[in-house]
Symmetry: C2
């Protein structure tokens, strides 16, 4: 039975490219038939990456059949996976996020979690010398994953190892990293086709802070103006999205990749208090700029308080 | 601050030897000062292994201070670790058991779980070429861990890789594996110094089966008669141990390593029913022999039903 390899439900570049790379490795090197699948429509950056490296878009699946062999990459959080995930035959988990618990397996399986910026960096290490046999598209997808997750090495999640692996892949492929990253970020910044609600849910994770259920959304962009011009309707949409998703509040951080700062939308007193307590910011209007803030994992989540 | 490396609360050979080996690697190869510690008195086999390889017995610690940097090997189960474990700074987990959840970390850490028989086999793979620099005692401890966890390759948990690593270490050290294993198993079989309650808790894990809280104990021995001669007082002690530990029933499987079979003590109708339903056994007296049963993880737990 073909192994299905997938990432989380909101496929960004890492959750699109890493399943493709790992399915290649399992099929072509390990001799265990595997295919990448997606749990949702890839975002605009991931769609660009597929096209750029001439990779077919993986099938989008609606759910997982009981007993189906699967490998999970780029998440270990059941909330970011299909409902029936614990009835699947989970063979391995490869991830770079905090362990949240909740995935169940019958016996010990292969679990590799590393505190690196990107799943593809871990895949590189696990593949070892076999990566040399990968076609150009596989190496290119892995390179794009690292550029995406590190925001071209600007994100504080970036480790020296992520950077070294990306530079090695870039040299191998003869790719100018800055040119590729710029094209990727431009693709990600083209949000014109998305509704406000879609933007609020595009790159969003749920966390509880001081008893409040928060949906913490980030939008990484080289064109923050495109999003901030829509701030009034985004703030209006937050109320509906929070209600529909059972959250107390949606927080939207617009990450300006090039200027290395975040702009937080401040729709009400709760978010104003959070911004002031969490980031020592002084809030006077309906947005606040947070210099240097680029990473939800490393900076936003650890700082949030109320 | 020195990193403390430890296994679970009932230190067998793997939970004693693997912390020693990994602390060596962290200190001597990685340059991050680390020391092995124990969460309890090592069992008789582990004590023999320390003496045999001329290794100092690690300090037994009563608890973990908040914020202390630690590496956990051979378990990922908070129930098998000190109460304050989630307040420690958990740097890494290296294990070969099913993920049970419950350990909490602030961010992503290094987690390596592999479906192998022994933690030391995983350590071997992680150390790579650096293992060549290990002193004799470190290699010897790792070899002993594998012989112990695989019951000298008899346990169905044994993989070809565990065996290959043990054979490589044995050749490197010029050790006759069968002689070493025999001495180790004889040390483990010398249970004369232990009370009945201590024997019932020596190698024991808690599981819930059909709503019953079970303490599932195994004793691996080359001299089952020494234990079975005490069956009356062991069965009497089960009632107290179950009450003290909040379990509904203690199950004791005496694993005859050399004859590759288990003898289950049958103190009452509940255990008789379980033996018949789980293993298709016919129970006529107060013990039942289960041919081929050697592994709690691979055979006993997956079979138990009521």
């Amino acid at each position: 039975m073909t192994i299905q390899v997938f990432g989380h439900k909101s496929p960004d570049t890492d959750s699109t490219g890493s399943p493709i790379a790992w399915a290649w490795y399992l099929s072509e090197i390990k001799g265990t038939p595997a295919k990448p699948v997606l749990l949702g429509e890839p975002n605009t950056e991931a769609a660009f990456v597929l096209k750029h490296w001439d990779l077919p878009k993986p099938e989008i699946i609606a759910g997982i059949e009981a007993g189906a062999p699967v490998v999970i990459v780029d998440t270990n959080n059941p909330a970011e996976l299909p409902e029936g995930i614990n009835k699947a035959d989970i063979l391995a988990i490869i991830d770079h996020h905090k362990l949240v618990g909740g995935l169940e397996t019958n016996g010990p399986i292969e679990i590799t979690v590393r505190p690196l910026a990107c799943t593809a960096t871990i895949l590189h290490d696990l593949m070892g010398d076999d990566l040399a046999r990968a076609p150009r598209g596989i190496k290119g997808a892995m390179l794009s994953c690292i550029l995406s997750d590190t925001l071209e090495f600007r994100s504080p999640t970036t480790t020296a190892h992520d950077r070294a692996v990306a530079e090695k892949l870039g040299a191998d492929l003869g790719v100018n990293l800055n040119e590729l990253a710029t094209e990727m970020f431009e693709a990600k910044s083209d949000v014109s086709a998305f509704s406000d609600a879609a933007l609020l849910r595009m790159d969003s994770k749920e966390y509880t802070v001081a008893g409040k259920e928060l949906r913490i959304s980030v939008l990484e962009t080289t064109a923050p103006k495109l999003i901030l011009d829509r701030k009034a309707s985004l703030m209006a949409s937050m109320i509906d999205v929070a209600k529909e998703d059972g959250a107390d509040q949606v927080l939207l951080f617009v990450i300006d990749i090039l200027n290395e700062e975040a702009t937080l939308l401040v729709p009400n007193a709760l978010v104003k208090d959070m911004a002031e307590k969490s980031f020592g910011a002084t809030v006077t209007g309906d947005t606040v700029v947070l210099p240097g803030i680029m990473s939800r994992k490393k900076q936003i989540i650890p700082s949030l308080s109320l």
